[in-house]
């Protein structure tokens, strides 16, 4: 789905501080950073680190004590909350589908609020259900209680992006589903993120989920920003001991999941036993070597473009 109307907007935090009533420390403490338009940014940290609170300042569900949040370079404090929120998708762990409405009515909530006509809403509902891999004909008229947890969250995502928001907030969206469903939902989220160009802010405490989804990761601790970088940069050069422990950066196999065969291969020919796709991770390549392959032909669209050996993997980890 290519949709020019849903191009992402940049989000910027400037010295944002949040303190809850009766709390003895700031939930978010003087956090500043900028998220480029269209990127997938994951807020990572243990519970109580302020990641959800920080996320909720973007759509004004939480109001900072100090500092400013900008969406598309506009101070959110200057926008009426309802108007602001209709332009920002919101997905939560508990999903919160409206139990008295059908799937179609749930997805249609925001488009109807912003005044789309009936035909456009109806067409959009079908388009979105297809996008999240639910057959519109089968699911349109069902009620949330008739759906599995995974299906409910697919509808939750469709509802959040229905009116083509330039920013999408996802607060531990897959925390309540089982591992197999979570993995499928992560793949689909990645796929949808690529097709939408929406700026996505995603909260999780699951390191593997963060590494799998993120263009950039924000590591938080006790309300403070500890490190903000690409997954590979954080794994290669953790800023503090806390980041090292949180992401277990000594686990090099984890880093291999972020490196591609394309990046480690040598452009030469030679005898090979087996082949691997250029886009496959070095972790998959390692798997092939451990199963007995000597040299792997690296292929792109069927054509061999290079060779990968076991030593290339070691070199990729210590450039």
């Amino acid at each position: 789905m290519s949709d020019p109307a849903s191009a992402g907007a940049p989000v910027r935090f400037e010295s944002v501080t949040v303190r809850y009533p009766n709390a003895d420390r700031n939930a978010v403490d003087d956090v500043s950073f900028a998220i480029p338009a269209g990127s997938f940014t994951v807020f990572l940290g243990p519970s109580g680190c302020g990641k959800s609170t920080l996320l909720r300042t973007v759509n004004r569900l939480v109001v900072p004590r100090n500092g400013t949040v900008f969406v598309d370079d506009a101070d959110v404090a200057g926008i009426a909350p309802e108007r602001l929120r209709r332009g920002i998708g919101y997905v939560i762990q508990a999903v919160g589908l409206f139990g008295h409405m059908t799937v179609a009515a749930n997805v249609a909530v925001v488009p109807e609020l912003v005044g789309w006509d009936r035909q456009r809403v109806s067409a959009r509902v079908d388009e979105l259900l297809a996008l999240v891999s639910l057959d519109p004909a089968r699911y349109r008229n069902r009620y949330p209680r008739e759906l599995s947890g995974g299906e409910q969250q697919r509808v939750g995502v469709a509802r959040a992006i229905a009116a083509q928001p330039p920013v999408l907030l996802m607060d531990e969206p897959f925390g309540a589903v089982d591992a197999i469903v979570r993995s499928a939902l992560q793949d689909e989220t990645r796929r949808i993120a690529r097709s939408l160009k929406t700026t996505i802010l995603f909260v999780t405490h699951d390191v593997d989920e963060a590494l799998r989804l993120a263009d950039r990761i924000v590591v938080l601790r006790e309300g403070r920003l500890v490190q903000y970088d690409t997954p590979l940069a954080i794994l290669s050069a953790p800023a503090t001991e806390y980041v090292e422990r949180l992401l277990d950066t000594h686990d090099v196999v984890r880093r291999l999941t972020l490196l591609r065969a394309r990046d480690a291969m040598r452009t030469q020919t030679g005898t090979t036993s087996g082949s691997i796709d250029a886009g496959a991770s070095l972790r998959e390549s390692l798997n092939a070597f451990l199963q007995g392959a000597e040299n792997l032909a690296v292929t792109d669209d069927g054509a061999t473009i290079g060779v990968l050996a076991f030593d290339d993997i070691r070199r990729a980890l210590h450039p």
Binding site: L84, R85, R86, Y90, A94, L97, F98, L113, G156, A160
Partner: protein, 203 residues
């Protein structure tokens, strides 16, 4: 039973009077109970003592309350209406508040996050989700009002209680039954009707 069938036109008139008493009281009771119930749900600190007071009113024997009110307010239609309205408040306010408090917080968080205003959240999300519990309160209140409205005859306000009081004073059980049987049927019918509506709105 014979008395009942030989006096059918009178039974019809008393039944209509009975329904007028209960219907009027129900509308007034709801107009008062809806804001009170919403307030009790929003402000728990006010809600608990409020329900305590309404619960105390609920425990006053209705005949005693009516007798006292007749002294101050005189005979007629409105004196029993006051009793019925006062008596219904406890069940109505309690169920309206309970219904609203029972709404899934995740759905409210989602509604806020999607940009529904507080009025839109109330009418489109909270009320429909709380409706089954609220209607349960309306059903219980209405059925007990049908029973209590038989006392209206004591205040010369008519209704099916007229047969009952006359039958009692004349020691004529058949006449008493001509009031109590239609009142019972009315209560059972209204109960069934509201149960049907509750089922229809339950998700």
């Amino acid at each position: 039973m014979n008395y009942l069938f030989t006096h059918l036109p009178q039974v019809g008139i008393y039944t209509l009077q009975h329904l007028a008493l209960v219907g009027t009281s129900l509308i007034i009771a709801l107009v008062i109970a809806l804001p009170l119930g919403v307030y009790a749900a929003r402000q728990r600190r006010v809600g608990r003592p409020l329900l305590g007071v309404l619960g105390a009113i609920y425990t006053i024997p209705s005949l005693a309350l009516l007798a006292v009110l007749v002294r101050y307010n005189g005979l007629g239609f409105w004196t029993p209406v006051i009793v019925l309205v006062a008596y219904a408040q406890f069940v109505l306010v309690r169920n309206i508040a309970q219904g609203l408090l029972g709404v899934d917080p995740a759905q409210l968080d989602a509604a806020r996050g999607l940009g529904l205003s507080s009025a839109q959240r109330f009418w489109r999300i909270e009320v429909p989700l709380a409706l089954p519990v609220m209607l349960g309160g309306v059903r219980v209140a209405t059925v007990s009002m049908i029973a209590i409205a038989t006392l209206a005859a004591y205040a010369s306000a008519g209704g099916l209680g007229t047969f009952i009081f006359e039958g009692l004073s004349r020691q004529y059980p058949a006449e008493t039954l001509a009031g109590s049987i239609p009142a019972a049927i009315l209560a059972i019918a209204v109960d069934a009707l509201f149960r049907g509506i509750e089922r229809a709105v339950t998700v």
